[in-house]
C-alpha cells in the first residue's frame, strides 16, 4: 500500500520509470474495461491511451482515499462516455419499444469465454452497449445512466432489455448447436 503511494507520488513529480510501473500494473485490466465500451480493438486502444494521459495529468488530484484502481477505472469509463457523447448526438426521444423476448437459457452465456462475450458486446449498437456496460458492469442505476447519457430512464431500461436480448440471441445463433450437443452427451 505504501509502495503504491510512493509510486503515485513519484509519478506526480514526473518520474518516467514510476509512470511506466503504474501503467504496467493497471493497463491490462483497464484495456479489458476499454474493450467492453468500444466498438472494436482500435477504438479501445485509443480510449486506453487517452485515459492514461488523463490519469497521469490528474494524478496529483488523487487523494488516496479510495482505491487507485477504482479511480483509474472511472477515468476510463468517463473517456468512453465522453467519446460516445461526441460521436452520437442523441436527442431525448423515448425509446420504449417492447420486444418479443424469447426465454433464452442462462447456461448458454455461462458456456462461452470472456473473449467471445466481449466480441459480442462490441457488436451491440453503441447506445445499447453503453447502457449495458454502465448498468451491468458499473452497477449504475437507470436514473444515473439517464443523466450521464442524456436519455430518459425509460429509454435506458428499454435499451438494456434490448441489449441483453440481442446478446442472448447471438450466443444462441453462434454457439447454440454446440451447446445442445454437449448437453445431450452429458
Amino acid at each position: 500500500m505504501e509502495d503504491l503511494k510512493n509510486i503515485v507520488e513519484e509519478c506526480v513529480s514526473g518520474n518516467v520509470r514510476a509512470q511506466e510501473t503504474l501503467y504496467r500494473m493497471l493497463a491490462p485490466k483497464m484495456f479489458g474495461v476499454c474493450l467492453r465500451y468500444a466498438k472494436d480493438t482500435s477504438e479501445a486502444e485509443d480510449n486506453l491511451q487517452e485515459g492514461f494521459i488523463k490519469v497521469f495529468t490528474y494524478l496529483k488530484n488523487f487523494r488516496h482515499e479510495g482505491s487507485l484502481e477504482g479511480w483509474v477505472r472511472k477515468i476510463m469509463v468517463n473517456v468512453s462516455l465522453e467519446k460516445f457523447r461526441k460521436q452520437h448526438v442523441i436527442y431525448p426521444v423515448d425509446d420504449l419499444t417492447v420486444f418479443e423476448s424469447k426465454n433464452y437459457s442462462n447456461d448458454i452465456i455461462e458456456n462461452i469465454t470472456a473473449d467471445e462475450l466481449i466480441e459480442l458486446i462490441q457488436e451491440l449498437p453503441p447506445r445499447y452497449r453503453m447502457v449495458f456496460n454502465l448498468f451491468v458492469m458499473e452497477g449504475m442505476s437507470h436514473r444515473e445512466i439517464s443523466e450521464s447519457m442524456q436519455i430518459t430512464e425509460g429509454t435506458s431500461k428499454s435499451n438494456l432489455a434490448r441489449a441483453k436480448d440481442i446478446l442472448k440471441r447471438k450466443v444462441t445463433e453462434l454457439y447454440g448447436e454446440t451447446e445442445t450437443t454437449k448437453n445431450y452427451s452429458a
Binding site: 491490462p28 484495456f31 472494436d40 494521459i53 425509446d95 462475450l117 466480441e119
Partner: protein, 461 residues
C-alpha cells in the same frame, strides 16, 4: 426476475477480472504525449515571460525617450515664434542660443549614431547563437518522429490481420435486420443532428457608432509657452465609429482589426491681455471690463501664425470679428503682431484608425463580457482650426507640423448580448491614448486621448 439477475451476475463474473495485454506502442504514445505537454507548458511560460518583458521594455524605453525629449526641449529655440521684446541684448542672446542649438543637435546626432552602432552587433550575435540551438531541436524532433513511425508500423500490420480474422468469424448485422421502430429512431436522430449542426466558423464582423469625449495631455517648450494663447482645459464631445473584423483563435481569445473614424482635439481660450502701465512697471492684468482678448501672432509674407494648444495654427484668412494690431507693449514697433478677437479657438483632428486588438472573453454566455487591449495606427485625415465668436464657427486654417501616422494604445471592456445565432449587440467603453505626440515639432508635445462608448451590432458567420 430471477433470470434477469442471474444473467447480470454471470456476465459480471465473467468480465470483472477480464484482462488483455495492450499493444506496446500505447505506452510509447502516452509517454510522448506527456513529454510534449510538459514542453508545451514550458513554452507557454516562456511565452508569457517574454511578452511581459517586451511590454516592460517598451514602457521603459517610452519613459526614457520621453524624459530625454523633455530635457532637450527647454534648450532648443523655436525659430517660428516671435520673441517678446525683452531688451536690447536680444540679438546677441539669440545668436548664442542658436550656437547652443547647433552644438546640441551635433551632439545628439553623434549620440544617436553611437547608440545604433552599439545595437546592431548585439542583435547579429543573438541570431548567430540561436541558429545552432534550433537546429539541434529539429534533428531531435525528426528522430522522435522516425522512431514513432517504426513503432507504429508493426502493430498496424498485426491489427489488420486481427480485423480480417474477426470479420470472417463474426458476420456484421446489416441495416436490413433493424426493426421498424429502430429505423424510425435512427431517422429521427439523423434529422435532429442535421437541424442542430452549425457551421463552426470563427469570423465575426461588427459595426460601431461611438459617441465620446476627447481631451489631451500636453507640454511645451518655454519659449513656445510664453507666446501661446491661453491653454484650454476643455475637450471635445464628438461621434466616431467604424467597422471591425474579429477572428476567434481559441474559445476565449479573439484577435481584431478593422477601420475606425475618430475625432480628437482641444478648445482653448484667448490670452488674458497683460500690459505695462509704464516703462518700469511689471506687467499687470488689464482692467476689468475690457472687451477684447489678444493673442500674439506672427505675420510674415501674407501669412499669419499663432501658437495654440495643439501646435501652431496657420491662418488661411483673418477671421471675422477679429482685428490685427501692433503689440501694446512694444515701444517702437510698426509690425502688427496681435490678433484681437473675442471668441474661443479649437483645433480638431480627424483620424482613420486601423486597430490591432486582442480580446479576452471573461464571460462566455448569452450575455458576454470581454476585455480588450491593443494598438491603433492613427492616420490623420482631417486637420482644421476653428474660431467661435459672434459670427458663428469659422474655419480659420490648420495646425502645422502634424504627423500623418501616429500610434495609440487602447484599453476597453465590452458587454455583449446575443440576439440569436448570428447577431449580438455590444456596448464597449474604450479609452485610447496617443503614445506619440501627434505634433512633430520639438516645442510641442500634444497627445490626445479619447473615451468612447462603442455601441454596435456584430454578426458571427
Amino acid at each position: 426476475m430471477k433470470d434477469k439477475k442471474n444473467t447480470d451476475d454471470i456476465i459480471r463474473e465473467k468480465l470483472e477480472n477480464f484482462q488483455a495485454t495492450p499493444p506496446p506502442y500505447i505506452w510509447d504514445n502516452v509517454q510522448l504525449h506527456l513529454t510534449a505537454r510538459r514542453r508545451k507548458n514550458r513554452m507557454v511560460h516562456i511565452g508569457w515571460i517574454s511578452a511581459a518583458a517586451v511590454v516592460a521594455l517598451a514602457f521603459l524605453a517610452g519613459w526614457y525617450f520621453n524624459e530625454n525629449l523633455k530635457e532637450d526641449k527647454s534648450k532648443i529655440v523655436n525659430s517660428e515664434i516671435i520673441q517678446n521684446e525683452k531688451g536690447k541684448n536680444e540679438t546677441a542672446v539669440q545668436s548664442e542660443e542658436t550656437k547652443v542649438e547647433n552644438q546640441l543637435s551635433a551632439e545628439l546626432k553623434a549620440e544617436t549614431s553611437n547608440q545604433f552602432a552599439g545595437v546592431s552587433p548585439v542583435s547579429s550575435k543573438m541570431t548567430l547563437s540561436k541558429t545552432p540551438a534550433s537546429g539541434h531541436i529539429l534533428t531531435s524532433r525528426e528522430s522522435i518522429n522516425l522512431t514513432m513511425i517504426s513503432t507504429l508500423n508493426a502493430p498496424l500490420a498485426q491489427n489488420q490481420q486481427f480485423h480480417t480474422e474477426l470479420a470472417r468469424h463474426n458476420p456484421v448485422i446489416s441495416a436490413r435486420n433493424l426493426s421498424a421502430q429502430e429505423a424510425l429512431l435512427v431517422a429521427e436522430n439523423i434529422k435532429n443532428v442535421k437541424a442542430s449542426s452549425t457551421s463552426d466558423n470563427n469570423w465575426k464582423m461588427g459595426m460601431y457608432v461611438a459617441p465620446g469625449y476627447s481631451s489631451y495631455s500636453s507640454s511645451y517648450s518655454e519659449t513656445y509657452a510664453q507666446n501661446m494663447n491661453y491653454k484650454g482645459s476643455a475637450g471635445n464631445a464628438n461621434v466616431g465609429g467604424g467597422f471591425s473584423v474579429q477572428y476567434k483563435t481559441s474559445k476565449r481569445w479573439i484577435v481584431e482589426s478593422g477601420i475606425y473614424y475618430a475625432q480628437n482635439g482641444q478648445q482653448s481660450e484667448n490670452s488674458t491681455p497683460v500690459f505695462a502701465r509704464n516703462e518700469n512697471a511689471d506687467y499687470v492684468l488689464s482692467d476689468a471690463g475690457l472687451s477684447y482678448f489678444s493673442n500674439q501672432v506672427r505675420v510674415e509674407n501674407n501669412t499669419m501664425a499663432m501658437n495654440s494648444t495643439a501646435g501652431v495654427i496657420q491662418f488661411s484668412a483673418t477671421p471675422k470679428g477679429a482685428e490685427l494690431t501692433g503689440d501694446f507693449e512694444a515701444k517702437n514697433t510698426g509690425v502688427a503682431n496681435l490678433l484681437v478677437a473675442n471668441g474661443g479657438f479649437s483645433q480638431v483632428f480627424e483620424f482613420m484608425e486601423i486597430p490591432l486588438y486582442v480580446r479576452y472573453r471573461v464571460v462566455d454566455r448569452k450575455i458576454g463580457v470581454e476585455l480588450l487591449t491593443g494598438f491603433n495606427t492613427g492616420i490623420v485625415v482631417g486637420n482644421n482650426a476653428y474660431i467661435e465668436n459672434q459670427y458663428g464657427v469659422q474655419n480659420i486654417g490648420e495646425t502645422a507640423d502634424i504627423s500623418t501616422f501616429n500610434i495609440s494604445g487602447t484599453l476597453g471592456m465590452g458587454v455583449n448580448y446575443a440576439l440569436g445565432k448570428h447577431f449580438s449587440v455590444a456596448v464597449e467603453p474604450r479609452f485610447s491614448y496617443y503614445l506619440n505626440s501627434i505634433n512633430n515639432s520639438p516645442s510641442v508635445d500634444f497627445r490626445p486621448y479619447r473615451i468612447g462608448f462603442y455601441t454596435g451590432l456584430t454578426y458571427e458567420f
